[in-house]
Symmetry: C4
Subunit: 278 residues, 4 copies
């Protein structure tokens, strides 16, 4: 299986054109969080901002607002308990929508996800993560025809694909992924694999210092920002996955555990280094 | 067109007199923020504090209060949903009023802006930014005779002046600005231009690392602080504009994106450097 | 009495297996905090996350939520004022439960503690700290048969054991501890002692820079994380106690007082150093 | 007039006794803050914690709670809008009470101050700051016989003493201070003066980088912590005043403005340096 290296990151990352504005770097909307899991939305949005997304909004529970502001004044906020019609325009205006981090699996979450799936247009990028994947599997929701990225860990993928963890091989994963014709699958595991149609690449970095709550939320934010800036391509997604783990491994040289907040703050520096070395 | 350099910053920045107190360095009032865009007010106020304003207050939505305290205990807070009469004295007491960052364009915002414009006195400095500019254009509000600074990006200027972006030249901008006799126009674009009557100067710094949400809010805070400390002069405003971009460009040597929070924290250091080198 | 050294830390800390996930490093639930003492729960949870616990939740008063998110988005939150039946599953799912930091001694706290004690299963680790110890002494609550860790300071131990401070010797403490057959006692004092059945070890580090509010809350978080990662063994607990004081003493070389927040942020670095030197 | 130097700081600061606990370093209660001026209470409490106070509580408006937790989980919180009888025990239990930072001058503030003044006992230290001084002057409240520290700036002192700013000399200040037999007066001005009975000392440090909102609140927190640790003596108060300005001046070498948050974070390091050099 082809291994993702920092060559992919260097090929994907572009020095920003001198004449550009924030609108050129993607409008990212993170839909997630809840009273119980609000930090997930905060971490995903933080990763998106620090990875360079032009404009980042969070649609979440009101209880998330103060913590979000305290950490990330750069992000905008939408109360997702408002009637959907009052903020569906924000979904439509986004280049990249992330749905799932910390959303939970309440009936509210199910209904919200249903509306998001009905609203997304083919030109938009949709990243489905965390509990949204479990809801889709459980409720058998139809995923619309869009630029789709799925980011399950192995158990979530088992639920979604019907392929048990011990039977997840490149071949079975590719077959199962065919149910989502245009999708990219980021299968999170020891040495994460990234699938798109007949392509598959694998990480061989990403140590156990990352095994802590919030790693997955952080990854979706990086993927969102990269797609917003560099286009939703297979290589873009591979570069985001590599970036996340490369930073954690670097921090792990001097830290036993590498927290999402720390990975996030390192993003602008790592990205500059990759640009300057390429 | 004359280019703004750090000579302007050095000429404007003054070593503080040994005998002085916070009242000498300007009372700045930031009116903005909302449930959706609260971070904008937080960033603008933070920039004002870190750029040396003596006393900074934020008039905003109550939902902004905890995030503001968490980041910036140095700022005071006013709930702008109170009857205006209860806090109009704070508007009157300010040396510099910023209106607009994150204010939104709701009917509440329109009415609030109307009251602010009626309250401002000729001796006060008024910086109109963001959505306040759009409201003024849309509602055809009259801007009072005051020390006026407008900080539109090109689209906002098009709305306000009626000059389409592709027709914005020095000549057309100067003609349009004549509608605001005493105003300074900070026209935000690639290589921002600063107009005042027959004068025009241009930045040739400010790279694309700054193309991220909150850059404009940060700039208004710096302008407010500089006017509060060094007087509302054309050169003061040019110095503030230069300072904002110079810091971002310096950070961009090691960062792919330079976030408002990071620019803000660098302000006291940059200003010290400019003083010591002059 | 045997002295705890960093050999214990080196023996307990394990390099993480390459193939592992967050579930392998412990689900920690901190039950505590209140409107008055919310920071205690935040510090305990922060220590648990920075010491490497895989998943950390805080069950607390709603007033704690925003401050927790602002400092620690990695943690999940449960409103403990909900009917207990709605979140008892979270207690059952935890590998390690900390109860007490900042809980207070209200009748609500008494009832909550009663329910926790009834819910805990023998396979779970239960760390009882702070006001929970006082409640148990005062209400004569029965502690269930579980992996029990008690973390009183001398006065709390006097209340719990009936042994007055001036009569607390190794012999009297061991006799009193026999009332809790499987418990480990961390008796916090100048040169903290750790008891388990016939074993007793003592710290000879931990200077007075740590004599500040929140030190105890921080310690419980570290113990919880260590038990979650390395198993609930006597040596694990000794290693956690040593780690807490060793970090503070290191910081005290350049600080008059060493705050919990600072000790917490140093945890990942200290743990990496211990691994690499072993 | 005698000049305060760092010799005073070195004489006052004591290496902590090896056997000590947080109760030995003072229970400090900060009563202040309000919806409008909440940051003042946060900064005062932060200064007290970072200057080494053993236990710090904040009695304030509920709107201050989340911001306080976000910045300073080490502090405890009391909702001062509760009936006073429910928290008067906290006033009685404090070694040092600070009243005033950000309290405002509402009728609520007046009544609260009245109750505090009635509750304080002769053995307690009471630091009266900011708006509390104005209230006392305006309402002609009687200050009880206690360990009293007044921290007015010149205008507040004029209101309190009846001595107009231009007539404030050592002689007139000493005469006016005689109205408060046991009080220490910290008269904040360019080169702050500290009076106690016939003694007077003056700062000759403390540059204009400190002329920013929150400096005074920070100073009261430092004084409170020093009194809590080293006793309420004239030299202790002089040492606190010097420490505040010495840190700011050191930071001012590389910063144009030195914010309270930055001074606060430097406190533990400065205090260690003074101890080690003495």
């Amino acid at each position: 299986m082809q291994v993702i290296t920092n060559s992919t990151v260097r090929a994907v990352l572009q020095a920003r054109p001198a004449i550009s504005h924030k609108g050129d770097f993607g409008r990212v909307l993170i839909i997630g969080g809840s009273q119980q899991y609000g930090g997930a939305a905060i971490m995903s949005a933080s990763a998106a901002v620090y990875a360079g997304a032009g404009l980042v909004s969070v649609a979440s529970d009101l209880s998330v607002l103060s913590g979000l502001h305290a950490r990330l004044p750069e992000a905008m906020f939408i109360d997702y308990q408002q009637p959907f019609v009052q903020w569906s325009s924000a979904v439509q205006a986004a280049d990249v929508v992330v749905v799932g981090p910390g959303l939970g699996i309440t009936s509210f979450a199910v209904e919200l996800l249903r509306k998001i799936l009905q609203t997304i247009q083919p030109t938009q990028t949709l990243i489905i993560d965390g509990s949204a994947l479990s809801i889709i599997a459980h409720e058998k929701l139809t995923i619309p025809n869009t630029q789709l990225i799925l980011t399950p860990h192995q158990m979530e993928w088992a639920r979604l694909s019907g392929v048990a963890i011990e039977q997840q091989t490149v071949a079975t994963n590719q077959t199962a992924l065919a149910a989502y014709p245009n999708a990219t699958l980021v299968l999170k595991k020891h040495y994460t694999e990234v699938y798109h149609q007949q392509q598959v690449q694998q990480l061989t970095i990403g140590g156990p210092s990352m095994a802590t709550g919030g790693s997955g939320d952080t990854l979706t934010g990086i993927i969102a920002a990269f797609c917003g800036q560099f286009g939703t391509h297979y290589q873009t997604i591979c570069a985001a996955v590599y970036t996340h783990s490369a930073i954690a491994d670097e921090l792990a040289k001097t830290q036993y555990v590498t927290l999402p907040s720390q990975v996030i703050q390192t993003l602008p520096h790592y990205m500059a280094k990759m640009i300057h070395q390429s």
